[in-house]
């Protein structure tokens, strides 16, 4: 065999080796081997699971704690129901119940662990919540020791209303299996299922077999790579998916799916096979989905490092199951789009970029979504805004006309306009608050997503984009496949900049204070000669010296105030006639700062934060002022005319029918 042939053979064999084995994935802590059987009529799953878990701490573990998330939908007494008040993102929760029951659990030596299992509620003490179970082990698991636990469980899926469940033949099966919590040095971190929080778990290897009726053949998508497809008993088909180095597993099935495939390819970022599970009525939007995912993998990858998995699946939920959309799981995301989606309204794009971005903030940087949700949602929103702005420019205001969507001629700019909901509730909560302790869902969303995004965008503008990217990359490299915290990000910023930025995070992440700078006063008047008594030849005379007698130029005064509670360094610019510009930086200390210019050129306008660096400024309409005599009446007059015109039309419309 020639050397060339040997080389070809080696390359071919190399190509056959599953790519996932070549990836530098971390040593597994919590791995799962699951086999499940779906009954689409009863909406149930029967499954068995082998959990292989390693005690990665320095202390023995006498117990195991398991998440049983589906029990959040068990009845109205669960913590999830109580906190949500029966309301979800898309309206009232349906009376459709879900549950998960462990029917068998044996330890490494075959001991029956089921009698030693009890439900606990570490967050709120709710005795009726069944979303966390604790198992007392026959003997503690020593530090560094690995054990295996075998379980049988039966799951009932609810009508999809919050991420998981079914609608007709569509199934989005997520948070569906008994999942071990995260053991930290301080003990178990295993929170209950809350109304507005997400998840937290350890990395591991997943090997999951899914047995579905034959009508689902070719229409099953899941975390990881499909390694097997075979027909089992009459009329059924089994799919097997495997993925190493992930911390959750989700799958979906729908006979209606149109399954499309594409490849993301970019030098330095590797190849990723993309699978799109699309609803037929959204067929025209396939390219938009793929385009958005590619934009995300490229935009995030360049800043945070390459996406390390060989596949990424995008699920497009059907009508009536939008609650399954807009969610992230390792190597699988759910999007969502209306049937009428004009291109200028970024309906599939924005959510797709965001969820694909979660592969980084959540997937790889697996922060605790219960306790520090801003580290995934907020950081991801910040990066989403960057990618959307770079790829698509701006979004448009969407007018919903009886369910059809039309773009208005009003642009929504990233990141500021896209995150304005923060300003509505700016003082309600400190950003750094555990998810379930926010005042409301609105405050959770506004702070965790929007305030974080605006804070990071402000930081980027203060540091400069290259420095910000260095800080992000340092954070991503240090904490890839780990569980970073806010302090870890702050350390990365400090290390990347060589300066201590703790003060910035204290005033933003750890504060509910509002930023609001304003120009309160801007005056310019012709300079006048001084009056009074002046010394001349040793005497006091009423005439000023000749040098002062002839006044020249203008006297200008500008008063900049801090109407908010938080001080951030801000630029102040005074623009004068003939192109003269005075630029100064105010540290924001104190409530106000006055700027005086004597005998200078005529002041045209005064601006605070002219470059829009402080995006947390709650009211930018007061960030500039012209002198009284330079008032420009055009905008107000034109809008008054428009308003009167609209009222005339409204009156005419109101008098049409009667």
């Amino acid at each position: 065999m020639s050397a060339a042939k040997v080389r070809v053979l080696v390359l071919a064999l190399g190509a056959l080796v599953p790519r996932l084995s070549a990836q530098p994935f971390p040593p597994p802590i919590a791995s799962y081997q699951i086999t499940c059987r779906l009954d689409p009529e009863k909406k149930t799953l029967d499954a068995n699971e082998v959990l292989t878990w390693k005690n990665n701490t320095s202390r023995p573990a006498p117990t195991l704690r398991l998440h049983l998330y589906l029990n959040a939908f068990r009845n109205t007494l669960s913590t999830f129901w109580r906190e949500s008040g029966g309301e979800a993102r898309d309206g009232k929760l349906p009376d459709s119940w879900g549950s998960i029951e462990i029917t068998r659990m044996t330890g490494p030596d075959g001991a029956d662990l089921l009698p030693a299992m009890r439900f606990i509620s570490p967050d709120d003490g709710n005795p009726d919540d069944r979303t966390v179970a604790e198992v007392i082990l026959p003997r503690p698991v020593a530090p560094g020791e690995t054990i295996s636990v075998a379980l049988d469980f039966a799951a009932r899926l609810p009508r999809v209303s919050v991420r998981t469940g079914y609608k007709d033949d569509f199934f989005m099966v997520v948070q569906w299996f008994p999942k071990v919590g995260v053991l930290q040095e301080s003990g178990w971190n295993c929170h209950q299922f809350h109304a507005w929080s997400e998840f937290f778990s350890d990395f591991g290897n997943y090997d999951v077999s899914i047995d579905v009726p034959a009508r689902y053949k070719g229409k099953v998508g899941a975390t990881g790579q499909r390694v097997e497809e075979r027909e089992t008993s009459a009329g059924r088909v089994l799919y097997r998916f495997r993925q190493d180095g992930v911390h959750d597993f989700a799958w979906t099935a729908d006979p209606s799916y149109v399954v499309l495939e594409d490849t993301f390819r970019e030098a330095g970022l590797g190849d990723v096979r993309l699978f799109l599970y699309l609803q037929p009525e959204h067929g025209a939007q396939a390219a938009r989905y793929f385009g958005a995912v590619k934009a995300a993998l490229s935009g995030y990858g360049r800043v945070l490092g390459a996406y390390p998995y060989p596949t990424l699946s995008i699920v497009d939920p059907p009508w009536g199951a939008r609650a399954a959309g807009g969610m992230e799981y390792p190597t699988l995301i759910t999007g969502g789009t209306p049937w009428s989606a004009p291109k200028s309204i970024l309906r599939p794009e924005a959510v797709t970029v965001h969820e694909a971005g979660h592969q980084f903030f959540y997937g790889l940087l697996a922060s605790n979504e219960f306790e520090e949700a801003w580290l995934d949602e907020g950081f991801n929103t910040y990066m989403t805004d960057r990618v959307l702005r770079a790829t698509y420019g701006s979004n448009r205001v969407d007018l919903d006309v009886f369910g059809l969507h039309f773009p208005l001629g009003i642009e929504i700019h990233y990141p500021l306009d896209a995150n304005r909901r923060y300003f509505e509730v700016a003082t309600w909560d400190v950003l750094a608050t555990p998810s379930w302790k926010f005042r409301s869902r609105v405050s959770y969303g506004a702070n965790v997503y929007s305030k974080t995004a605006l804070t990071l965008a402000t930081l980027e503008r203060l540091l400069g984009t290259p420095t910000m990217d260095r800080a992000l990359r340092l954070y991503a490299d240090r904490w890839r496949f780990q569980h970073p915290t806010t302090r870890d990000f702050m350390a990365a910023v400090n290390d990347a900049t060589g300066a201590d930025w703790t003060w910035f995070f204290d005033r933003t992440f750890f504060s509910s204070g509002v930023v609001d700078y304003a120009v309160a006063e801007a005056k310019t008047t012709p300079a006048k000669p001084p009056r009074g008594l002046f010394e001349r030849d040793g005497k006091l005379v009423p005439d000023p010296p000749a040098a002062l007698a002839k006044a020249r130029g203008w006297d200008s005064t500008v008063l900049v105030v801090n109407r908010g509670d938080v001080a951030l360094p801000v630029d102040v610019v005074l623009r004068f006639e003939n192109g003269h510009v005075y630029r100064s930086r105010w540290d924001g200390a104190g409530r106000w700062k006055r700027f005086r210019v004597s005998a200078g050129p005529k002041l045209l306008e005064a601006l605070v934060d002219p470059d829009e660096k402080i995006l947390l400024d709650a009211d930018r309409t007061n960030n500039g002022l012209r002198p009284e005599e330079d008032a420009d009446l055009r905008a107000a007059t034109r809008w008054t005319a428009r308003a009167v015109f609209w009222v005339q039309n409204m009156i005419d419309f109101m008098t049409v029918a009667w």
Binding site: K167, D168, E281, P318, W319, G320, P338, W339, V397, L399, D400, F402, L404, G409, I410, E411, I412, H413, L416, D417, R420, F423, A522, L607, A618, D619, R620, T621, N623, G624, L625, R626, P627, D630, A631, D632, L633, R634, A635, A636, T637, R638, W639, T640, A641, R642, A643, V644, F645, V647, Q648, N649, M650, I651, D652, M654, T655, V656, A657, W658
Partner: protein, 334 residues
């Protein structure tokens, strides 16, 4: 349809031949709307005149500016935008939003209700004037006052019926079908359901309008009959020529929609000062309103043509005029 078209065109001709009617309606609407000029104008001038943001706002509404003003000045609009956009939503208007309306938004809503009342006067004046061979603005005022009490009696029940039709047919069906619509297989099916609900509502509203317009037209056309007979004649007239009346209403709707389409395409407000300076812009706006009113009067004249072409047998306030049986347009040859 040809008859409906003929009636509508004749109506438009009458409207054009008596432009002072459109002028009168335009003035009424302008004066009602003018109540808001000061509060809106003063607020906008205070916010924009000295602000560098004003520069960006001349041509295009700046999303950030509007969001900030809505948030920092909740008394200006309140939740009027939500209420207004509710009209276009699959769920329909949420009446519970009305208590949340404040400031300019609430005033605009109140003025629109006032306009409904004044509409009774304007419609009486319009229909009365259309039927007199030699009429003027004086006739408009006189006839408006003459028919206002009766027309108010028709206007309020018609308004109530229209409200009930919207609430019971559109909003009610939306609430009743909400869960079922969510269970439909596709969004297109859900849109079709919304379209059916909307069509049913529009048919009901059209029926109410045509009945009310027929009664009012006959009320003016046949003062010789007792009130009950006039009312029944009006109802009968609507039932006798439903397609013709519906055709006229359809032509009116299509023509008006066409006018709006032209406005949207031309977009005279766009481009800041590039397309129209302030005064030409205001003139264009008012010309649009005037054209819309000409079409509106054309519609009423068309309905009048469809139901009764003969002039009123009684010109009670016109000196020397006798009840005429012949067509008033017929020239008198000496």
């Amino acid at each position: 349809m040809p008859r409906a078209l003929a009636c509508f065109l004749r109506g438009l001709g009458k409207s054009l031949s008596k432009p002072y009617l459109a002028v009168a309606l335009w003035l009424m609407q302008l004066l009602i709307a003018a109540v808001l000029i000061l509060p809106i104008g003063n607020a906008l001038h205070a916010l924009l005149d000295r602000s560098p943001s004003g520069e960006k706002m001349v041509a295009v509404p700046d999303y950030g500016w509007w969001e900030t003003v809505r948030r920092t000045h909740p008394d200006v609009l309140g939740n009027f935008p939500e209420f207004a956009t509710g009209l276009l939503s699959p769920e329909g208007i949420k009446w519970s939003e009305i208590p949340g309306m404040r400031g300019v938004g609430a005033t605009a809503f109140g003025l629109a209700l006032l306009a409904i009342v004044l509409h009774a006067f304007a419609l009486g004046g319009t229909l009365g004037t259309l039927r007199e061979p030699s009429a003027s603005l004086v006739t408009f005022g006189r006839e408006g006052m003459r028919y206002m009490p009766a027309f108010l009696l028709f206007t309020f029940p018609a308004w109530g019926l229209a409200f009930a039709a919207y609430q019971w047919i559109y909003v009610g069906s939306g609430e009743a079908l909400r869960l079922r619509v969510r269970e439909l297989h596709t969004e297109q099916a859900a849109l079709a359901v919304t379209a059916l609900r909307l069509a049913a509502t529009l048919v009901a509203l059209a029926a109410i309008k045509l009945l009310a317009d027929a009664v009012r037209t006959v009320w003016v056309a046949r003062p010789d009959l007792p009130p009950v007979s006039r009312f029944l004649f009006g109802i009968g007239g609507a039932f006798a020529r439903p397609l013709r009346l519906l055709g006229i209403l359809g032509l009116y709707a299509v023509t008006t929609a066409g006018l709006y389409a032209i406005w949207l395409v031309a977009d005279p407000s766009a481009g800041g000062e590039a397309r129209f300076a302030l005064v030409p812009l205001i003139l264009t706006q008012q010309l649009f309103v005037f054209a819309r009113l000409l079409i509106k009067i054309g519609y009423y004249a068309g309905v009048s043509e469809a139901l009764t072409r003969a002039p009123s047998p009684e010109y009670s306030y016109v000196a020397g005029a006798a009840p005429a049986a012949e067509a008033p347009e017929a020239p008198t040859v000496p």
